[in-house]
């Protein structure tokens, strides 16, 4: 892939966010810093970790996994078909281990897709659902959990205990990763924020919540296994698509399109950064 094509692609990705075009030079990622010396764990953080451990024992995300499994095998939609022929990258119907190898390039669509996007693609092509309908209210609220959310939770649960191994062998995948890195570091909006403002350095926090440095594997995994996750507040199940959307809102950016190239790129960046770490399964949040 030429440098020109890459830039053009990045601009195209940003166009959906109504951003001004950017050049590669503007958004060079910060130079890697040497690892911080090991310090005694913060007592507050340690208590939070204990709290999280207790929560993880009985994660209501399991209920959504069960629901998602039911949906996966159920004959639904205008075509009255199940998702058993859905190819998540490891062949039609292979769910086990698929999640830790996404986002990846899919030759049938000529695009890199993350898990939610791929599931939507399957729901459209196999079951005959309309993308417009699926994208109308894509995120969960206390009254309603959209089907793709449960399906993502089921697929994610089928990679429990496996190592993240996001592929980077294809040029399209490397390109998507690069675009993701650009978006991660792109400062804009009324606060002049980028994702990296909060998630590009060690030891940052918002209120009492420590913020992981998503450029490092050990911390990127914390975000990556947090979602899909069950949020205690309101008792809702959320996916990474929602998390990214909400990050944009928190930065006061224009809302990104649901299941767009930009979000896939960001997720690819996050997933590749978490490579080699063990995925614990759907998460739980306070």
């Amino acid at each position: 892939m030429t440098r020109y094509a890459l830039t053009r692609c990045a601009v195209a990705a940003f166009a959906t966010l109504a951003f001004v075009p950017l050049t590669l030079a503007q958004t060079k990622p910060p130079a890697a810093k040497p690892a911080a010396p090991a310090t005694a764990p913060d007592p507050t953080a340690a208590e939070f970790d204990k709290f999280r451990e207790v929560l993880e024992e009985d994660n209501p995300a399991e209920l959504f996994e069960a629901k998602g499994k039911e949906l996966w095998f159920a004959k639904r939609g205008p075509n009255n078909a199940s998702l058993e022929k859905c190819d998540l990258g490891l062949g039609p119907g292979v769910v086990k281990g698929a999640y830790v190898r996404l986002p990846r390039y899919f030759a049938d669509v000529g695009k890199v897709m993350d898990v939610e996007r791929r599931i939507l693609h399957c729901m459209v092509t196999l079951q005959g659902f309309k993308m417009e309908d699926l994208a109308k209210q894509p995120f969960s609220n206390p009254n309603r959990t959209p089907d793709p959310v449960s399906l993502v939770t089921y697929v994610a649960g089928q990679s429990r205990g496996m190592k993240i191994a996001t592929p980077m062998s294809r040029p399209e995948e490397r390109e998507t990763f690069e675009i993701g890195r650009e978006i991660f570091n792109y400062r804009a909006g009324p606060y002049d924020f980028s994702c990296a403002t909060c998630h590009g350095e060690d030891g940052k926090r918002i209120r009492t919540q420590p913020l992981p440095n998503l450029t490092k594997p050990a911390e990127a995994i914390r975000a990556y296994q947090g979602w899909p996750g069950y949020r205690m507040t309101g008792g809702v199940m959320h996916t990474l698509q929602w998390r990214m959307n909400d990050c944009f809102r928190q930065q006061r950016f224009p809302a990104p399109d649901y299941a767009s190239d930009s979000i896939t790129a960001l997720l690819a960046y996050l997933a590749v950064n978490a490579n080699g770490q063990v995925y614990k399964g759907p998460g739980i949040k306070r």
Binding site: E57, D58, P60, E62, L63, A66, K67, N141, P142, N143, Y230, M232, G234, G235
Partner: protein, 105 residues
């Protein structure tokens, strides 16, 4: 029909540690939906647990309990393979019973 519960029962000595995760909206009657209407009360009122058909645990529950609640309790004198069944009833009269066998600890 309510969604199934997830029941985990493991043995430690002769004490079974039972944990139940229930799928229930547990509406408090205080919340309003998007159009401003109050979401009516809908919550689990009673929970009973049976070990091989004998009631060993009962609880009266209020709407103060969270959505998709978890309950945990211990039962003495249980053996591996014993059947634990849990039943909840909510204020709409809806009922759900699930059963599992106690696994070795």
């Amino acid at each position: 029909m309510a969604d199934p519960m997830k029941i985990r029962a493991t043995l430690q000595g002769d004490v079974a540690d039972v944990r139940v995760l229930m799928a229930h909206p547990m509406e408090t009657g205080q919340r309003k939906d998007a159009s401003g209407n109050v979401v009516p009360l809908h919550f689990i009122q009673t929970i009973t647990a049976q070990l091989n058909g004998k009631t060993v645990f009962g609880a009266d529950v209020s709407q103060a309990v969270s959505r998709n609640p978890v309950f945990a309790f211990k039962v003495k004198g249980a053996k591996a393979g014993d059947k634990v069944s849990i039943t909840w009833t909510d204020n709409k009269g809806e009922k759900r019973t699930d059963e599992t066998a106690i696994g070795a600890g």
